[in-house]
């Protein structure tokens, strides 16, 4: 397939928890399920390891969308980590929305180690959503952009 250089390719950062979603991504790979190469996965010990600063830094350094994947609530390897992450991310996303950042650029999805299909579908739909929103200008360094 020829590569179209004119087309906007978003940079997506995906924080995946070690125990469920990272294994889910692995399963998606070994099952040969396609998901866009724009997704850069960062493995974290638990979804609750993700500090709001990680997400803001990702945007600052040029990400167009950030997605956080963790174990389903109730299935956390550390029992309760994702419950705390859920509250934090709800508040953070609400704050980003309050600052005028399109809320489609952030997402939380629960993906278990057995859900390779869900991982691939989630990433496809998220990349599609961010692509429709266009490049992220509001959270980056405005000085370097026109």
């Amino acid at each position: 397939m020829p590569i179209n250089h004119e087309e906007f390719r978003p940079t997506i950062v995906a924080f995946c928890c070690n125990w469920c979603s990272y294994a889910g991504a692995d399963l998606a790979g070994s099952s040969r399920l396609a998901y866009p190469a724009d997704v850069k996965i960062i493995r974290v010990p638990c979804s609750c390891r993700v500090n709001p600063m990680f997400i803001l830094r990702a945007f600052e350094k040029g990400a167009d969308g950030v997605i956080l994947c963790g174990c389903h609530p109730g299935d956390c390897h550390y029992s309760t980590g994702n419950y705390y992450a859920r509250r934090r991310m709800t508040l953070l996303f609400s704050m980003l929305d309050y600052l005028g950042v399109e809320n489609g650029r952030t997402r939380v999805e629960w993906v278990s180690a057995a859900e390779g299909v869900k991982f691939s579908e989630t990433m496809n739909s998220f990349v599609e959503k961010v692509r429709s929103l266009g490049p992220n200008v509001r959270l980056g360094d405005l000085r370097c952009k026109n």
Binding site: P52, M53, L56, R57, F59, E60, P73, G74, T80, Y83, Y84, R86, R87, R88, M89, T90, L91, L92, F93, S94, M95, L96, D97, Y98, L99, G100, V101, E102, N103, G104, T106, R107, V108, R138, L139, G140, D141, L142, R143
Partner: protein, 321 residues
Amino acid sequence: MQELINRAKSLLESGEVSRVLGWRKGETDWDVEPAFFNSAEELSEFIYNGFCGANLSKYMIEASKLEGKTLVFLKPCDTYSFNQLCKEHRVDREKAYIIGVGCKGKLKIENIDAAGILEVRGAGYPDASEILTVKTLYGDREVSYKSAMLERCHVCKGKEHMVYDERMGESADTSDADRFAEVAKIEAMSPEEKFAFFQSELSKCIRCNACRNVCPACSCRKCVFDSTKFDSAQKANTTSFEEKMFHIIRAFHVAGRCTDCGECSRVCPQGIPLHLFNRKFIKDINALYGDYQAGADTDSKGPLTDFRLDDCEPSIVTKRG
């Protein structure tokens, strides 16, 4: 004011307290600063008037490490911060002798300036709390008390002290506005308008860190923004997103612990309405996890250190629109 000084003197002389934490005149008459007084003589500088907006709770962190008790004067809204610090084991209740002082709303010098009153030499403490008499170089001027008040006094949390050993003076509930009205107004804007609003407000930030240094909730020994490995210790070497990130993260770090004391907005030299960030978090917490007032007690769990199995999913932000 004189009865506060007399009471402080008698407590100092009886040896009940080793020092007094209060306010004294700063460089100008309206610039009142927090101060420690170690003897009865020093107390002659003690002052309590409409410009004593400073919340003294945070100074109790240091005072808790000293020998003996400290007499501290707290206004009703300051006692929330003190309670919150007690809950976080940052201040020692046993080391504090709290006199709950009366408060009928505190003044903002900028508001008095805006009313065209210049060269302020002091302001009387009003009794009727309708008209304020301001002493100036050119004689006494009058201004409506409500228009000279700090923003936070318009959403006063009430006249009850949450914690005290004794109370002196009368308080009044000065609230006359909806606490979340401004937040709701911004929420109703389009993303472009929201971004333009915060861009114009936050680009004024000079990263003086006054908001952080005054905040009773911002009392970490090591702050993430002091890290030199992080590119965020000063404004000069960072990107234009830096000030937004600083204020989002600062508000996030105090989310669930912020008592909405309004000190951040009071001290900001650039006049940035920083309380809008804290109130947004408080509004969300109240709406999603139930009403919560930080500092109202010393034993409840904070909303971000707690969870329910049936909490809403973060996608609620998108659904709410």
